[in-house]
């Protein structure tokens, strides 16, 4: 087994002598003997070569999506990750530094966080952003807590068209301080000749009264559709409630930013625009809000300032919100966050830039609609239309979605998200995702397979 401990036996003995201890054991004398030296049931150590072999073997037991068409999205999206990202973020200076507590030797991390905050503000159309939270799901939880703190209310409405995993986390987060989480139903209605469900957040406003801290919606929603948000924020504001919007930065390359329709807090998942799907983690939550709420923001915030010579520099700031200063009065307990993933996303957004991110969104739109056309043309299948969509669509299948997925997998295709897991009424529906990495050939292959299966 390798050891990353440099100390040789001889050095250890010399060090013990300097300390004045007889043995290493001696240093542990504060621990009652009965508890010392547990015999661990752990296998013997591995050399680097053995470890790599073992892990490669495990990795290869997974079906990797570089080699199989996949139409899974549902909260984790395959966008292209430019090669530069991995090379830059694994530079030891970024990889092996701590949260930037000593600004003079952490300007690299601090400035890149300031850039992240700026990018998030630009994308979302909000005033301020923090230096990220764990992920969008916990971001939703933090947003609910923050809205309650801002409004001094305890009731949170959440649209059922929000990602169900986010809603589960929201429930967990809300539980503690007794926040009442009220799911508000999404409406299902027929539209045209299709038996199409459509979520109508505009109707949600009717649930809003003076006890409500916020309404949380997702846009595009979990089913991929754009919500009709016109006037929503205003109606909430009329009751003193905040509109919280969960969104997707890739879609924001094209869509109007939540700030433009009155969001008070915006949460987004930043991971997929900057890194691969990674079995779902680490992620990184974008978290932005109106400037009025800045002192209630959870997490780290970086600000620009100057040194004595007037040089621009960056520091962690507004720390009086934070646990290390305010302890039980802190806005959140967040300490270590997801800085390196935020850096990936920061680099991604700079690399893609203004034009590139828009193209990503546009290609998502074109490809998902091309897929929709192929599916619509298949006997027994239909595309449910609940609104405009960017990268995800709901395909109604002639058989249970789970069966379709199984049959697709037999053909080497990873199908879509089985919406039966989301809602009983959708158990014959697949949520299918296309992004710029989906090829026409893969779409055609899927369509052909669906036809065969259907």
């Amino acid at each position: 087994m390798p050891s990353f401990v440099p100390t040789t036996a001889r050095e250890r003995d010399e060090m013990l002598r300097a300390i004045g201890a007889a043995s290493v054991d001696d240093l542990f004398r504060d621990i009652p003997a009965e508890f010392r030296n547990p015999q661990l049931d752990v296998p013997p150590g591995l050399s680097e070569l053995e470890a790599l072999r073992h892990l490669r073997q495990l990795a290869e037991q997974n079906l990797d999506l570089d080699h199989h068409p996949s139409f899974l999205g549902a909260g984790a999206y395959r966008h292209f990750t430019p090669s530069i990202i991995g090379h830059l973020v694994t530079r030891g200076e970024f990889l092996t530094s701590y949260t930037p507590y000593q600004p003079e030797v952490a300007q690299g991390t601090l400035q890149s966080m300031y850039e992240w905050q700026s990018l998030v503000c630009e994308l979302t159309g909000m005033d301020v952003s923090n230096a990220a939270v764990y992920d969008a799901a916990t971001g939703v939880g933090e947003a609910a807590r923050m809205a309650c703190a801002v409004t001094r209310r305890k009731k949170v409405l959440v649209a059922e068209s929000v990602n169900p995993f986010y809603r589960e986390v929201l429930r967990t987060y809300g539980g503690g301080p007794g926040i009442e989480i009220q799911p508000v139903h999404a409406w299902w209605r027929a539209k045209g000749d299709k038996d199409a469900p459509l979520t109508r957040v505009e109707d949600l406003a009717q649930y809003v009264d003076e006890t409500v801290a916020c309404l949380i919606i997702q846009n595009p929603n979990f089913l991929g559709w754009l919500e009709n948000v016109d006037g929503l924020a205003e109606r909430l504001a009329g009751k003193g409630a905040i509109l919280v919007v969960v969104t997707d930065p890739a879609c924001l390359g094209l869509l109007r930013p939540p700030g433009a329709y009155g969001a008070g807090i915006v949460v987004g998942e930043g991971k997929w625009t900057g890194g691969p799907v990674d079995f779902g983690g680490p992620q990184v939550g974008m978290f932005a809000c109106k400037s009025d709420y800045v002192r209630q923001l959870p997490g780290r915030i970086v600000g620009a300032t100057v040194d004595h010579d007037g040089n621009r520099g960056y520091v962690l700031t507004l720390a009086t919100r934070e646990q290390h200063i305010r302890r039980e009065k802190a806005t959140s307990n967040i300490c270590t966050s997801e800085a390196l993933i935020a850096l990936c996303t920061t680099i991604y957004l700079c690399h893609l830039g203004k034009q590139g991110l828009r193209e990503v969104a546009e290609q998502c739109v074109q490809k998902s609609h091309y897929l929709a056309d192929q599916i619509a043309a298949l006997d027994g299948y239909a595309v449910l239309s609940g609104g405009p969509y960017v990268k995800e669509l709901v395909a109604k299948c002639p058989r249970p979605a789970a069966e379709i997925n199984r049959a697709l997998l037999e053909r080497g295709i990873v199908g879509g998200f089985d919406l039966g897991r989301y809602s009983d009424v959708l158990s014959d529906c697949l949520l299918l995702c296309c992004t710029e990495v989906t090829t026409r050939q893969e779409i055609d292959q899927l369509a052909a397979a669906l036809k065969e299966i259907g």
Binding site: P32, L40, P43, L95, E104, G108, R256, D278, E328
Partner: protein
């Protein structure tokens, strides 16, 4: 090497029309965009930077050079366990079979990943003596939150509504913040100034049946083992109060003592400390939570199970679960690193972690005695805390000493924590540093003690060679400038964006 010139914001390098990333040409027939997405739903402007790939590479390369890091410098940041992060873990974490794996893929196509999670959880259970493990929490504070929720759920299951969580005054800020997040009142317990340990009398006086948990840190934030821990656990259990252990200091205990054996009920491990996930400038980490068998049903769902046939699955059927704490399964890619790290160390290697972490700390402490004053003069565990008040004689403070260390090429220790120590200097060398490094660092600290007497201005004006000097933090907080703005940015980079207040 050369003092880095100031680096403009990437926005300030933007040139209209310049590009780095491009996509493959669209390979499906393009429809008019406005037919697919109504124009009203489209954004009208997007002020992302427009730069070339070299611009990006050079910008972030230059930024990186403005950081200290474990790879470049000794980084004895107390409580943070800045040990060497083996690069093999990065190679493992970049294997396509792990990276290109969607979290919602059918379980049979993700058996390798599920096995990693399953085995990591078993290994952590074995190392801590707390067999119920969930790797879902993504950071220490997240683990605390999860753990205290588990405690609350267990109380509720037993029909007990409790309102208080006991927290030592030496505890990390995340402990009280966590208690509050879960809806508990945080009650502070004092410490014994002589031993540096929990004031057991104070504890006894505050412990009652309204206490949901006590959050102990073991070893505590003074780097001292809580010798009464087993007794504390017994007393707590007597009134149905759970003992939560903040495992941020687990590094001292690896292979040496198991918190579960001491009577602890719940504990998180900062995988980014003890098990070498690189800190990344503030995450991603991992905050795996380990609990007793009795508390296992309350762990966040889903948990990873193993069937009799050897296949692995996500068990969603967990009626007593506190629910999800993460969008998917936590920081899988970080867990992968810790799994590799633990497997590489193995049965013989794990105890070496604790042993050498403690050896190094005591050696460094022994070198500094006579020059600096330990807050408590005892054998320490993996770290120790100095009382920096002697600097005041020279009109200096701990901050000055910290900044002066930068001139010597060292990252400063943790300072002003724990809050109970005046002018605290908290030093954690970790087991991966060599004696020569410890000696050189001790020499620097001793030299600085001399400088404080002879040339206090050297400390006061430090650091001298960093790209920026000490920054005006008051101004940062009073006049928050938290983002670049298109309208007010000054491209010459000569000063902060003072107009950009929020």
């Amino acid at each position: 090497m050369v003092r880095a010139k100031s680096e403009p914001l990437i926005f300030e390098k933007s040139v209209p029309g310049r590009r780095a990333g491009v996509l493959p040409p669209l390979d499906v027939p393009a429809k008019p965009l406005e037919e697919l997405i109504p124009t009203a739903e489209q954004r009208t402007s997007l002020r992302l930077p427009e730069v070339s790939e070299l611009d990006v590479v050079r910008h972030f390369t230059r930024l990186s050079k403005r950081n200290f890091s474990v790879d470049g410098e000794f980084y004895p940041l107390g409580s943070c366990t800045m040990k060497y992060n083996p690069r093999v873990d990065e190679n493992v974490a970049s294997m396509p079979g792990f990276r290109q794996l969607h979290p919602l893929q059918p379980e049979e196509t993700a058996q390798g990943a599920l096995r990693v999670l399953y085995e990591l959880e078993r290994l952590l259970g074995e190392i801590t003596g707390l067999p119920g493990v969930s790797a879902q929490p993504v950071a220490g504070a997240h683990g605390e939150f999860t753990g205290i929720l588990v405690a609350r759920a267990a109380h509720e299951k037993q029909g007990r509504a409790r309102h208080k969580v006991l927290i030592p005054d030496s505890a990390h800020g995340t402990n009280p913040a966590t208690a509050a997040m879960v809806g508990y009142e945080a009650v502070t317990i004092g410490h014994d100034r002589r031993t540096g340990e929990l004031d057991v009398e104070d504890f006894k006086s505050k412990l009652d049946e309204d206490c949901a948990a006590i959050m102990m840190t073991v070893p505590n934030t003074l780097g001292l083992f809580e010798r009464q821990i087993a007794e504390i656990c017994r007393l707590a259990h007597d009134v149905g109060c759970y003992v939560y252990c903040d495992g941020a200091n687990m590094n001292a205990m690896v292979g040496q003592v198991r918190p579960g054996d001491l009577g602890v009920d719940l504990l998180h491990i900062n995988l980014h400390k003890t098990f070498a996930v690189p800190h990344g400038g503030g995450g991603p980490g991992g905050g795996a939570i380990c609990v007793t068998q009795a508390l296992e049903p309350f762990l966040p769902a889903p948990v990873v199970g193993r069937r009799a046939d050897g296949t692995y699955f996500f068990d969603h059927n967990r009626p007593d679960t506190i629910g999800r704490v993460h969008g998917f399964y936590g920081n899988f890619n970080a867990a992968l690193r810790s799994y590799t790290y633990i497997l590489m160390h193995g049965k013989e290697g794990l105890p070496e972690i604790g042993a050498n972490a403690v050896l190094n700390a005591n050696y460094l402490l022994s070198r500094l005695k006579g020059h600096y004053t330990p807050y408590v003069d005892r054998t320490c565990m993996h770290e120790f805390v100095l009382d920096g008040r002697s600097l005041r004689e020279h009109g200096l403070k701990t901050l000055d000493l910290a900044k002066r260390l930068i001139d010597y090429g060292y990252h400063p220790p943790t300072i002003y924590f724990p809050l109970i120590v005046p002018e605290a200097i908290m030093i954690e060398p970790t087991e991966t540093e060599s004696r020569e490094t410890l000696d050189a660092f001790a020499d620097a600290l001793i030299a600085i003690a001399q400088e404080a007497r002879d040339h206090p201005e050297l400390l006061h004006d430090a650091p001298h060679e960093t790209p920026v000097g000490r920054l005006d933090e008051v101004r940062a907080a009073r006049q928050p400038d938290l983002r670049w703005r298109a309208d007010t940015s000054n491209v010459d980079g000569g000063g902060p964006n003072v107009e950009g207040r929020v």
